[in-house]
């Protein structure tokens, strides 16, 4: 086993009945990495996670963990933890009993058990809630119990299903910090599933973007954010102006358009609204919509290239609806897409 493949998925194919959800997926994850599986619903990210946990049988391919083939190992023997989106706490047991559940099944009893459970509760700041029932806790507290319940088992891999999506904005930051702290302190390998690119960018060491049951791109948050490889990823991370490239020219709804500056060689180009130059340039557009977002102002332009979204500093003078504007899509700023779909 190389260090680069603590957990590896090899040609993994997963299906619900005859419907293939994930096809021929290859992925290598290092020990101690924090990985985000990012994608829209139906992209196969949750399916992949369930297969790693052993909750979904593998149709073909392999799941290897820490040098051992886990493909046919049942879920209760894998040493993989999972924090469910709904937390899945046992409603009839106290917080303490929830955390003790797995340890007791391991045969742990008495002082050793108590020490472990207390440490687990303390690590998530819930020592004083040991005797409460899950229903008496807030969503954020329930999630921390679920986290402690998985972590006391010292799993080789901890999976988290949409860990931040059920929390309000303030708790989200808190939980994000908490997860990073747990990961740093224990060195556990973490994989979380999310459809929220901001969540993935903020938390992950590496992001795996999935689409239609396959991996679209793997990279650091910076890679994904700045250098999307495909129109799909570009769209997913907020590039709103995306065009295919044909012989150095932009294919738009208004025909082939020559760009200013040297045309790069790629299958397509993508610009964030912020990358669009407003006020000067070879193109002309009419303001169809405008919205104020505090620091910035967004414009939706009707142009000969189709609809263009631009974003500029809010401090600059505002343009009224219907105003004619010059603009430019600078080729030098664009993200180069090698795949256009």
């Amino acid at each position: 086993m190389s260090d680069a493949s603590y957990l590896s998925l090899e040609k993994l194919t997963l299906a619900y009945g005859d419907t293939v959800a994930v096809a021929d997926l290859d992925l290598d994850i290092r020990k101690g990495e924090l990985i985000a599986l990012l994608g829209p619903s139906g992209c196969g990210k949750t399916t992949t996670m369930r297969a790693i946990a052993g909750l979904l049988p593998v149709k073909s391919g392999q799941v290897r963990l820490d040098g051992a083939d886990m493909t046919r190992v049942p879920a209760n023997k894998r040493a993989v933890g999972l924090v469910f989106q709904s937390y899945a706490l046992f409603p009839h047991l106290s917080v303490y009993e929830n955390v003790a559940f797995g340890l007791k099944l391991k045969g742990m009893r008495g002082a050793e058990l108590d020490t472990k459970v207390q440490a687990g509760l303390k690590s998530v700041g819930l020592s004083s809630f040991a005797n409460r029932k899950p229903a008496e806790l807030s969503g954020g507290q329930q999630q921390r119990v679920a986290l402690a319940r998985s972590m006391v088992m010292e799993p080789k891999v901890l999976l988290l299903d949409e860990p931040l999506s059920n929390l309000d904005a303030r708790l989200r930051l808190e939980m994000r910090t908490e997860l990073q702290r747990v990961q740093k302190e224990t060195g556990v390998t973490m994989i979380f599933v999310t459809h929220d690119q901001a969540e993935a960018l903020a938390l992950a060491d590496r992001i795996v973007v999935m689409k239609g049951g396959a991996i679209e791109q793997i990279g650091t948050p910076e890679d994904i954010y700045n250098r999307p490889v495909s129109s799909f990823v570009a769209d997913f991370v907020g590039f709103e102006n995306i065009f295919p490239l044909e012989g150095g020219k932009l294919r738009t709804s208004g025909g082939l358009i020559e760009l200013s500056g040297e045309a790069p060689s790629a299958a397509g180009l993508a610009w964030r609204p912020r990358m669009v130059t407003l006020g000067t340039g070879p193109f002309r557009g009419t303001v169809r919509g405008t919205s104020f977002a505090g620091d910035s102002r967004e414009y939706l332009l009707d142009t000969s290239l189709g609809a263009i979204k631009a974003e500029v500093e809010a401090a600059l003078p505002a343009h009224a609806l219907g105003a004619d504007l010059l603009f430019d899509l600078p080729a030098g700023k664009a993200a180069l897409l090698s795949k256009f779909s």
Binding site: L55, N76, L82, A88, F90, F101, L105, K106, R149, M153
Partner: protein, 260 residues
């Protein structure tokens, strides 16, 4: 007051009168001092209530009814809990058909169930009376068991079982460790409902009862054909108060109405 505003109170009164009236008459009759079952009661005494406890056949049939209600309901739960689990957790082909078949004894009149069991099971296969009654009562209670247990299973998230498995439990272990404790209220409710249903069952038992083996309600009918004294009313009152007591306690301690 016009006719319209009288309609609701009058209807309400009639409904209550029809529901509660016979019960009140029976209770009153059981305290009669007279020799025959009559209303209004003649005088007041507890002699017929006392007599109930001295009739030997009542004791035997009460024991039989109790055995059928407890045994039949327990058997229905043993069959019904796994069935409910399968129906609520898996997308089985034909699940709706199974649900309907299991519910059939609620819909089909008891007299038909009784006749069918007698004609096609008991007589050709020479099944013993007690066994026949036991099987019939199990079948009659099964729909209630499946219905009530399914309702509480549907209210329970299925991901807690997966959570238990990931914490090292087997699938079966997860059922006993995290599913059963959380549907205990539903199971208790199903038991009480089944018990009362079985205990009050007449038509099926009527067909299947035989020499020396009778359920209590069947025995009461037989008794009345010979002796027309108020002891049957006294026994009815006792049974009614027993049922009310059980259901009241169940509501009080289990929140019975949540499941039924």
């Amino acid at each position: 007051m016009n006719a319209r505003s009288l309609f609701i109170p009058v209807t309400l009164f009639l409904v209550i009168a029809f529901l509660i009236g016979p019960f009140l008459i029976i209770v009153a009759a059981s305290f009669s001092a007279g020799e025959t079952l009559a209303f209004p009661p003649q005088g007041f005494s507890l002699r017929w209530i006392a007599k109930v406890f001295t009739v030997e056949s009542f004791q035997a049939s009460f024991a039989m009814s109790l055995f059928l209600a407890i045994g039949g309901t327990a058997a229905a739960l043993v069959l019904g809990i796994p069935a409910s689990y399968a129906l609520s957790r898996y997308k089985l082909p034909g699940a709706e058909i199974v649900r309907t078949v299991v519910s059939a004894p609620i819909i089909v009149p008891g007299i038909i169930v009784g006749l069918a069991l007698l004609r096609y099971i008991v007589v050709p296969f020479q099944v013993g009376i007690t066994l026949a009654l036991f099987v019939a009562h199990t079948a009659l209670v099964l729909p209630y068991a499946v219905r009530v247990v399914s309702a509480s299973l549907d209210n329970l998230r299925s991901d807690i079982e997966e959570a238990a498995v990931l914490l090292g439990s087997s699938r079966l272990g997860a059922f006993f460790r995290v599913v059963m404790p959380n549907i205990r209220g539903g199971i208790m409710s199903a038991f009480i409902l089944g018990f009362v249903t079985s205990f009050n069952q007449v038509p099926v038992s009527l067909f299947l009862s035989g020499p020396g083996v009778r359920t209590l309600p069947v025995d009461m009918i037989a008794y009345m054909e010979i002796v027309f004294d108020p002891s049957v009313a006294a026994l009815s009152s006792l049974l009614a108060f027993l049922s009310i007591g059980i259901v009241f306690a169940a509501e009080r301690f289990l929140g019975f109405s949540r499941y039924v």
